[in-house]
Structure formats: structure tokens, C-alpha cells
């Protein structure tokens, strides 16, 4: 049996929720409260030393990190190409997402959404990083429908989760038309649902 530790608000948990639905994987969901501190609480840390969500446990095997979970649960499915080089590209985009997209869009979105006071220097730090990352996505998507090959994959799920937050993070998606059209393409996938 698969147990999925979930929480609202987070784009990282959303990725796993979407995959589980789109691949119709049976599981039990445990919903935690990030804002209220349940995720960092000692009780959860005993189960999950990372103290973060998403987190899964499958027959005693515990795995953290959203993209590692997508790759693990997606193996052998239509959402993860079997070819070694295509898998390399999927991983390339997923590492890019965690390094360049997730924090640069996710943190400013979180601060704005919940009215967290932050030094303006932090917004100024993340803003050009987010724009540079969105430009990389835009250039790629101007020439193709999906991030890897000719089909929707876990790379699209990972990149969608935080790209969709661009407006809430203060960016104008009108500047990124190919990203916008790709997002509509993702939203049209069977089983898709919105973050909130």
C-alpha cells in the first residue's frame, strides 16, 4: 500500500497529487497542515526526517522530494519515456525546475499570497532569476508542444506546478506566450485539476 503525505498550498505536493490522479494509482492520503506547522512537527519528523512534503511510504520504503517521487511512481507509465536519453532530458528539466524555477517563483508567490513581510532585496533577488528561467522555458516551448519528445510527461507536471504561479509572483505571462499556450495544453490533459 502507498501512503502519500500531502498538504495544500504547496506546488510540490500538487505535482504528486496530479500524477496519482492521472495514473489512477491507489493510495491513502494523509493531509498535513504546512502553515500550522504539522509538517515540521516532531511526530512527522519521526516518519520523515526531511520534515517536508510531499513524502511517500510504500511497503516500508520512504521517499521524499517531489520530483524523485514523480520519477519513481511514473516509471513504466506513459508519463515517463523508457528511452535512456529521453529520461536524461526529463531529469534535466526536473533539476532545472527545482534549481531555477521553484524558489524563484514559489517563494515570492508565497510571501505575496500570505502577506509575509520580506525585505525588498529578496524580491529583487528572485525577480530576474524567475524571468531568466521563464525565458528558457519560452524559447524551448516556442518550438515544441511538450518539454521532452512529443508527449506530456512528468517533466511537464513538474514545470507546470510552479510556472502557473508566475502571475501570483508578480510576473506578466503575456510576456511568455509559448509558456501560456503550453499551460493551456497541460490543463486540457485528462484528469487535470487546478492547484486550489
Amino acid at each position: 500500500m502507498l501512503t502519500f503525505y500531502d498538504a495544500p498550498v504547496s506546488g510540490n505536493t500538487y505535482k504528486v497529487r496530479l500524477l496519482l490522479r492521472q495514473l489512477a494509482i491507489p493510495h491513502e492520503a494523509v493531509r498535513l497542515d504546512i502553515v500550522g506547522g504539522e509538517v515540521r512537527a516532531k511526530e512527522f519528523r519521526k516518519v520523515n526526517p526531511f520534515g517536508r512534503v510531499p513524502f511517500i511510504v510504500e511497503d516500508g520504503f520512504a521517499l521524499a522530494e517531489s520530483n524523485a517521487i514523480l520519477l519513481y511512481l511514473g516509471r513504466g507509465s506513459r508519463l515517463l519515456p523508457g528511452d535512456v536519453r529521453a529520461q536524461g532530458l526529463v531529469q534535466q528539466w526536473m533539476f532545472f525546475e527545482q534549481n531555477q524555477v521553484e524558489t524563484a517563483l514559489g517563494l515570492p508567490r508565497l510571501w505575496r499570497k500570505f502577506g509575509v513581510e520580506q525585505d525588498p532585496a529578496l524580491f529583487e533577488h528572485y525577480r530576474p532569476r524567475a524571468v531568466a528561467a521563464l525565458k528558457v522555458l519560452e524559447r524551448h516551448l516556442a518550438q515544441r508542444d511538450w518539454f521532452v519528445g512529443d508527449a506530456y510527461s512528468v517533466a511537464d507536471i513538474a514545470l507546470f506546478a510552479y510556472s502557473q504561479m508566475a502571475p501570483d509572483a508578480g510576473h506578466d505571462l503575456g510576456q511568455f506566450p509559448a509558456v501560456s499556450v503550453w499551460m493551456d495544453r497541460v490543463r486540457a490533459q485528462p484528469g487535470w485539476f487546478s492547484l486550489e
Copy 2:
């Protein structure tokens, strides 16, 4: 033939350099100057739309992102376990590295090393993030020698690259004895060489 676009200074290129040496993979290295701007230059962007290093091209197949490159080049070798769950854990630690360790230690280290003036708010932002990440590594390594299983793997290479920068980023490794001992273990691996 494999071409490896390399650059000094970067911890991400160091990872790939180390893997290539430790697995004795034949390749041609093209060394670029990050600080002088060669990596972001138009000429390189034609080859590599990410405009970043490391970057590899193997018989026309191009791959960016250090950890994706480690996973691709490491497949089937002693540095990447073949078991699906072990691979999941390797990826878990590599995503954690790119999301929690690389920027939190890498950026402050870069700013301090090259005397880049930055708003103190940025150092204050990254400091607790780095400490939290180092604590996760410390708790894990207090109970085992390597990140995954009983052997040195690409997960150790990835995490070593930026953990070693902790002192340059202003952190006292004396607070993290298990991390320090693990680093010595990495340094004792055949073929290991220092970043600079």
C-alpha cells in the same frame, strides 16, 4: 565521442569532472570562462540554450544540468545502484541538493569569494536555509557512511560539491561532525581531486 563543456569555479562542473575521472570516461573537455561571460555568450547559447555549464554533447545528444549528467553518465556503473528504490533515493538526495544545498551555500560562497557586494538581507535569507540543509545531512550521516546504501555514489558526488563550500560560505563545519567525517571519506576515494 563525448564533449564536456567545463568551467572552473563552479561546483556543478566539478561534479562532472570528478565523475569523468573516477569512471575513466574518455571525453574532450572545452573549458569556458564563467566570470568573463563566455558561458552566457551567444556563440555558446547556440550550442546550449541553457547558457550554463556543465553541459555535455554525445553523438549529437545534448544534456544540461549537473545532476542529470551524473545520472546519465553514471548509469550501469558502480556509482549508480541498479535497484529501482535505491535509484529513487539517489535522485531524492540529488533534488534536495539542487533545491536546498546548492544555492544556500553556493551563492554566499561566490559572493564572499569574489567580493561581490550584496544586500545583507540576502546573506540572512540563505544562512538559515543552509544550516537547515546541513542539519538534514548531519542527521543522515550520523547513522551511515554514505547517502544511499553502503557505497559511494553520484549522490555523494552531488552533495560533496557544495557541502565542501560551507566554510567559504561562512559556516563552521565543527557544528557538523558527521558531515566532516563523510567529506574525508569522499576525499579518500580513488581518483578524487580538490575543487581548486
